[in-house]
Structure formats: structure tokens, C-alpha cells
Amino acid sequence: MTESAPLAVELRGITKRFPGVVANKDIELRVARGEVHAIVGENGAGKSTLMKTLYGMHRPDEGQILLGGREVVFKSPADAIAAGVGMVHQHFMLADNLTVLENVVLGAEKLHGIGGDARRRIVEISDAYALGLEPDTLVEDLGVGDRQRVEIAKVLYRGATTLILDEPTAVLVPQEVDELFGNLAELKREGLTVIFISHKLDEVRKVADAITVIRRGTTVGTADPRTTTAKQLAEMMVGAELPTPETRTSTVRETPVLQLRGVTVAGPGTRPAVDDVTLTVREGEVVGIAGVEGNGQAELVDAVMGLRPLAAGTIVLGADDITSWTTRTRRERGIGFIPEDRHRQGMLLDAPLWENRVLGHQTEAPNAKGLFIDRKAARADTERIMREYDVRAPGPDTLAVALSGGNQQKLIVGREMSAGPRLLIAAHPTRGVDVGAQSVIWELLKDARAEGMGIVLISADLDELIGLSDTLQVMLRGSVVATLDPQAVTPEQLGGYMTGAVTSPAGSVQ
């Protein structure tokens, strides 16, 4: 670190306190111009607080921010943008019913107007960084990868020379991740600086030129991605060894827990969203559902949970035909549910944790006493879950919104496991959670499987799918197109099946 050129971004001794908590303490960060600098750390380690500081969303209590060697003070994100710092958020902030051009220009009309100049500038940016954007396409017609490139274009359009990318790969499939990394290489080549937040360590090692590790609010060190292994990085992050998702000894029993027979769910158009799906989940078996998002997995989950009517087919739980059962009956009779989008389906963000512990189990012990909610018992049981599942929060009366994603997810997993379900529907159980929480959740799923629980696992993380599943079912356009043995398939092969590039069932176990 002895370059003569001034650093693009330097943070010195940044400390940020919130009432009762020190979110960041003595953060030191040195990012050279034209490099991709990764910041890794568990969720809740203070990465977001730090990036909010750098992006002007709040001001640090102590410490200095230096851009290009000069100290700056940001009062708002507008100041940060003016100084050339831009942020691509994890959750896209795009208006679906506007075009790419309109989305990019929105809020920055003063720069190049909204007409021909703006269009020219966008095309220039798109060409210069190989973003491949068409200004007149509606955003709603774009895939996830393209939307992300629109977000990047928005930031570049506003003249950013330093880009902060917050967990950019969380929503992408492997092929899209590679494209993104290609884009980042272009940005780097043009001399832009990229700060890349992630906890996917393999990706970080692939794309970053330098890595800074944050743990419990402070920087614990920097690492060279060429000489550091993912395992070493993980140990720096959590201070403990990282388990793998692998479960190799089969615990599959004979008795089926869930049988889907010809399950069909109507889609928005003429094509059904789920098309004649037949599959069986046995006791102690993890059935992984692989597929590019939007190929019917979400609708299949809804159908099993009773949230969406079937157009045809039957669903059998144990020995009961549950096709006509309500969601509540299904849950009471032993289906646990970890939803894909925990904010939409799994939590009441503005309610305290103990009410979130009750959610989904309103009629079950210890939450209910006759027609009443047993508030005392529910609170006590929330404390037990927080203890046993390592949910880090001040107490059962804390609002759910105050918890990090990983801690919210651990609460949901603990809640669903506490009811002792026969069948668990786990949709993206480790999405957006940190390495620590991820390994806890993996262990819980493995234990549950060993005890004879049947698990349907939907995931976009192919390593997770391959590592945890006993059987893999690939969904494409609503149908199951391949049944694979996870021991005989690589992520690349699986990706081929998911996109429809490969159709011959090479690794089939049918």
C-alpha cells in the first residue's frame, strides 16, 4: 500500500453510534483508484452502516472520509453523488412501467434533459462499459441481470467514479454473475473504482483486487484474494470454521410424506404456471427444486401451502388428501413454511418478535389458550427460540424490523422447527443471510432431515441445492424437466438443465 497516487476512497477511524449501540468502530478502509475492492462480513457486522456513511445517508460521529486524498463531508446522498460516489442498491429501485431511458433519467433531468442528449449519453455509457442497454425497452420486460445493469447505468449517468454495489450477486444465477463480473472488469478498465459488498466468498475471490473484512462493527483486516482461501476469509469473518452444506449419508426412508400428482396451477396467460408436476418427498429426504426464478417454483410452493388453487391434480400429505384443505389446516397438520420473501410472507415487520413467533402458529401451543393468545407463554417461547437459534436481538418486544436479515430468518426457522412439522417447505432459506446464519440454518435442516422430516428445498444457490438435496428436480416453464442425482451433477451441468440448454437426462436417476 505504497502507491504514490492518492487513494480513491480512504476512511480513517470511522465510528458511528446509534442509541445504545456502536455500529461502526475505528473503521479503516483504503481503496485504490481503478480497483474492485470487496468488503466482506456477516450481516449485522456493520457493512451497511459503513456504506450508508460513505454514501452520505448519515454522518459519522468520528473519523474522516477522504476522496482522492481530500477530506469531504457528506450531508446527504446528493453530496455523495456530486462528489462521484454512487450506490447500486440490493433491491432495485426501478419503475417497471417506464422505459430504460426514463428510469435512468428520472431524478437527473437537469444533467442532459430528457430527450436526445440523454439518449445519446445512455447509449455512450452502455457502449463504453458493454452494458448492452436498449433505451426504449420497458423495464418490466427485462430480466434480473438487465435490471441490475440499468441500476449501474443510473449511477454512471450521474457521473459516479466510485460505485458501491450492495450484495449485487444475491439475485443472480451463475451465468448472470459471470456477465456482471464482465461489466465490472469494463468499469475497472475505464479507471472507475468499485466497492463490492458480499458474503459469497468464492465470488469475492474471483472478482476482487483487494478485500477488507469487517467483524462486529470494525475492520479486522485486509486480504489478498490471490493468496487467501475462501476458508481463511470465512474464518476472519466469523472467527470460527465454516461448515459445508454437504450431507452425504442418506437418511431417506420408505414412507412418503408428500406426494404431488399431476399438480397444475393456472398461470397469467394460457400457459399454466405449474404444469402437471408429479413428485414424492419421503421421510428424511430433501428434495431440491432447481430452476431459474420464475419457472413455476413460487407457484408450486403456493399450491402446496394452499395459497393458490389447483387447476388439476392432488396433493397428499402422509395418508391424507389435503387438496381441499385450508392453509391453516395444512400448517396445523404438520407443514412448516419458510417463505421465499420473508418480508412479504414470513414476518410482520412492525410487530414485536413475540407476535412474529405466533404468526403461522396462532392456533397451536404454546401460543394459544383456547380462543385467546397466551401472550406470556408466547413471549417466554420467543425467548427460548432466541436462545436456541441464536437470534440476536434485545428481547421479545423488539420490533422485527430492527433485526438483520439473518436474525429474522433464524427466528422464522426456529418458529417453524418448534412446531415439529412432518414436512418443511424451505424456499430460499439462506437468501440474504450471512455465513454464520447460513451454516446454522444448514445444520438445522440436516438435523431435521436426520430425524425423519421431509423437506422441499427451493434455492437459487446451486451449491446449497447440490449439497443438501437427496434428489434434485429441475423446473423449466412450469414442468419438471429432469430428475437428477446431486452426487453426480456439477453446478455448471445443473445450470444447463435450468436454462434448457441441456435436455438429455445425463445424470438422471429415474
Binding site: V21, G346, L349, D350, A393, D397, L399, L403
Partner: protein, 404 residues
């Protein structure tokens, strides 16, 4: 202690809003040439003799009872995210039918009153239920259908009053239903005033006050302590999360509308059973719309609604003395309007602050042992969220001003 601070924080925003509203109202009064100080002094002047003062209090309470019930009816639906704008029509229909039924039967005292209450609740519940059924089966917005049903209800009530249920002589200037026999009157609480050593005023303190208290407690228990109430509030906080948790959204909509309507059916009864004993063209109107304002002001909690109802009743009482002092009584309407506006704004600001505090508290997990073991109980710092519970959760379910 945390409960105390929580209550304090929950009350701070509305209290501040009321003060701001009074300041704005004072400015408006000054602008139209009324001396605000004199207006306020007239409003708080309850009279000189003990009898006058007790009478004033009785007037305020009698007015507060129906307002409280109206606020409650609106709030039950609000807590689920349903905007029952049709409370007005529901209570008018309920009152005219209950008055007709009450006048046409003769039963022993308590039974007679009970029958009238049950009829009123039933009629209003059915009327509100129509809104629920339309929403569930045809996807009609409850805002639209309940407003439309108001007009039908008012028309239908006029028809019943002038047609089948007419009791007054043809040609009388005020059309009313037949008077309910005395067995169907609700006894007043003036005996209680006497027992408390207060002067017995010429006005009757409505015995229905007790019913309102019971209903208020029942609604509070229903919302806060029961499984049903949990489902209802969960639906209000996040409909998608509630249905994933097993709440049957359609049944919930209908049940909630029925309950909201049943409470709305009670609104007209304090006046009907306590003083008027018949429904007529002069019967108190507009209570359903005031109920929306009161539910907003009381942040949809029964206790808050009680406070709001007393405040509005107090302001209403002032309109007569103001006129006597030759000050326009619309001063009262101005104050009421600005209070509602100020409270809506204050609640929204409080909600945002609470939310921001909660979110910034999440910026870092409490210091925990690196090996993943759970933190010691004492080591977790008290962050804002727990304290902002009341503001956060209550504020979320509130309708925006556009609902009116």
C-alpha cells in the same frame, strides 16, 4: 417503566398535535376578528353553580358516548386495513329499524331494551356485511361500496320513516316513528351522580355509557388478546404474511365488517333509548363521519378513541355557549378540522421516526460471542425499537387522510 415511556411516547404526538391545532385555530379566529382568548374562555366555562357544571359534564358525556361507539366501529375495520366509510348509513338504518321494532312490541324492561339493541346491531351488521360480501366475491373496493351504501341507507331510512314506520300525525312538521314504550327506555345514571354527592342536573346522564364502556373493553380484549384479534391485526399489518400464516382473508373481511357494523348499530341507541325514544327527521346525523376522525385521533386504540370522543364532545358542547356569546360556532368546526389534520400529520411523522430508530438499531447486532453462542442477557444494549412499539404498530394501520 418501559411501558410508561411507551405510553408517554404514544401520547406525545397527538398531544402536541392538539396544541398546534389550537394555535392554528387561534390564528384563524384572530384573522376573522374573533378574540381567541375570549372564545377559549367561553369554551371552557362550564357555568357558575354546581348544577350548571354537572349539567355541562353530562352534556359532554352524553355526546361522547355515541362518538366513542362510532370511533370504535371505524377502528375495528381500520385495524384490519379496511376502510368502513359506511358507518353513517349503517347506524341510521339500524336506528330507524330498531326504533320501529321497539315501538311495536311490548316486553318487560330489560328484555325490551335487549331486543332493541340486538335488532340495531343485527341490521347494521347486515348492512356492513353487504360491503364485505361485495369485496370478497366481486372485488369491489370497500371504500366505494360503503360510501354508495350510505346514500341507499339514508334513502331507505327516510322511506321507512315516512312510510311503514311513521308514527307522527300526518302534516306534523317533524316526522318521527312511534315512541318506544317506557319499558324500552334505558335507565339514566343520575342516581349514580347523586350517590357521588354531585348535584342532580336536569339532564339525564345516559345509562348507555355503561354499555359503551363494556363494548370498549370487549373490543380491546378482542383485538389484543384473542386469536381472532391477532389474525385481524396481522392482516392489517401485512395481508400477504397473514394469509401465508393461515388466515382466511375472505372470511376475515366478512367477519370484520360484521363486527364493525354491529358496533356501528349501537351509535344511535344512546340518544334513542336515553332521550329521544323515537327516530325522526331531527335525529342526530353525521356521527358516522365524525367516527372516522375520532378513530384517527385515537389511533385506533379503544382508550385513545375514548379520549378523542370526549375531546370532540367537549368541543361540540361549546358551540351553543359560543353562539350565546355572539361568536360564530363554526369556530368549533375549525378546531376539530385542524386537530384531525394535525394529528394525522403528527402520527405519520412519529411513525417515520419510530421506523427510522428501529432500522438504525439494526445496523449492528448486539455484541455476541464470536463462537455463535447466544449473548448474555445483560450484554444486549437497550435500543430504540422496544420503546417505539406503540407508535410503530399503531401508526402503520392508520388510514391516510385520503380515506375521507
Amino acid at each position: 417503566m418501559s411501558a410508561l415511556r411507551r405510553t408517554g411516547q404514544a401520547l406525545l404526538a397527538p398531544a402536541l398535535a392538539v396544541v398546534i391545532a389550537l394555535v392554528i385555530s387561534a390564528a384563524v379566529m384572530a384573522a376573522i376578528g374573533v378574540d381567541p382568548a375570549r372564545a377559549f374562555s367561553v369554551m371552557v366555562d362550564f357555568g357558575d353553580t354546581p348544577s350548571q357544571q354537572v349539567t355541562a359534564i353530562v352534556v359532554v358525556l352524553n355526546r361522547a358516548v355515541p362518538l366513542f361507539l362510532a370511533g370504535l366501529a371505524v377502528a375495528v375495520a381500520f385495524r384490519m386495513g379496511l376502510f368502513n366509510i359506511g358507518v353513517e348509513g349503517q347506524y341510521r338504518m339500524a336506528t330507524v329499524v330498531a326504533a320501529g321494532v321497539g315501538a311495536s312490541v311490548s316486553l318487560p324492561g330489560p328484555l325490551h331494551v335487549l331486543l332493541i339493541i340486538v335488532v340495531a346491531m343485527g341490521v347494521a351488521a347486515i348492512w356492513a356485511g353487504i360491503v364485505g360480501v361485495l369485496k370478497v366475491t366481486r372485488g369491489v373496493s370497500e371504500v366505494i361500496s360503503s360510501i354508495m351504501l350510505n346514500f341507499i341507507a339514508l334513502g331507505l331510512a327516510s322511506f321507512l320513516l315516512t312510510g311503514p314506520l311513521r308514527g307522527s300525525e300526518p302534516g306534523a312538521s317533524i316526522v318521527t316513528t312511534t315512541e318506544i314504550p317506557e319499558s324500552g327506555w334505558f335507565p339514566s345514571l343520575n342516581g349514580l351522580l347523586g350517590a357521588l354527592g354531585l348535584a342532580n342536573p336536569p339532564r339525564q346522564l345516559y345509562g348507555f355509557l355503561l354499555v359503551a364502556v363494556v363494548v370498549g373493553v370487549a373490543v380491546a380484549v378482542l383485538l389484543k388478546r384473542t386469536r381472532f384479534g391477532f389474525d385481524l391485526r396481522a392482516t392489517g399489518l401485512s395481508a400477504s404474511a397473514a394469509s401465508a400464516s393461515g388466515v382466511d382473508a375472505k372470511r376475515m373481511v366478512i367477519t370484520t365488517m360484521l363486527i364493525s357494523g354491529a358496533v356501528a348499530g349501537l351509535i344511535g341507541l344512546p340518544d334513542l333509548l336515553g332521550s329521544d325514544h323515537s327516530y325522526g327527521t331531527q335525529f342526530t346525523s353525521g356521527l358516522g363521519f365524525l367516527g372516522i376522525a375520532i378513530a384517527l385521533l385515537g389511533r385506533n386504540s379503544p382508550l385513545g378513541i375514548a379520549v378523542a370522543a370526549v375531546l370532540f364532545a367537549f368541543l361540540d358542547r361549546a358551540s351553543v355557549p359560543l353562539q350565546i356569546a355572539s361568536i360564530p360556532s363554526s369556530v368549533v368546526t375549525i378546531i376539530q378540522g385542524t386537530i384531525v389534520l394535525a394529528v394525522v400529520i403528527a402520527n405519520e411523522i412519529a411513525r417515520r421516526i419510530a421506523r427510522r430508530q428501529a432500522e438504525s438499531g439494526s445496523a449492528v447486532a448486539p455484541p455476541a460471542a464470536g463462537d455463535g453462542s447466544s449473548p448474555e442477557p445483560g450484554s444486549t444494549p437497550p435500543t430504540g425499537p422496544a420503546l417505539t412499539n406503540a407508535t410503530g404498530s399503531a401508526g402503520r394501520t392508520e388510514p391516510t387522510g385520503s380515506a375521507q
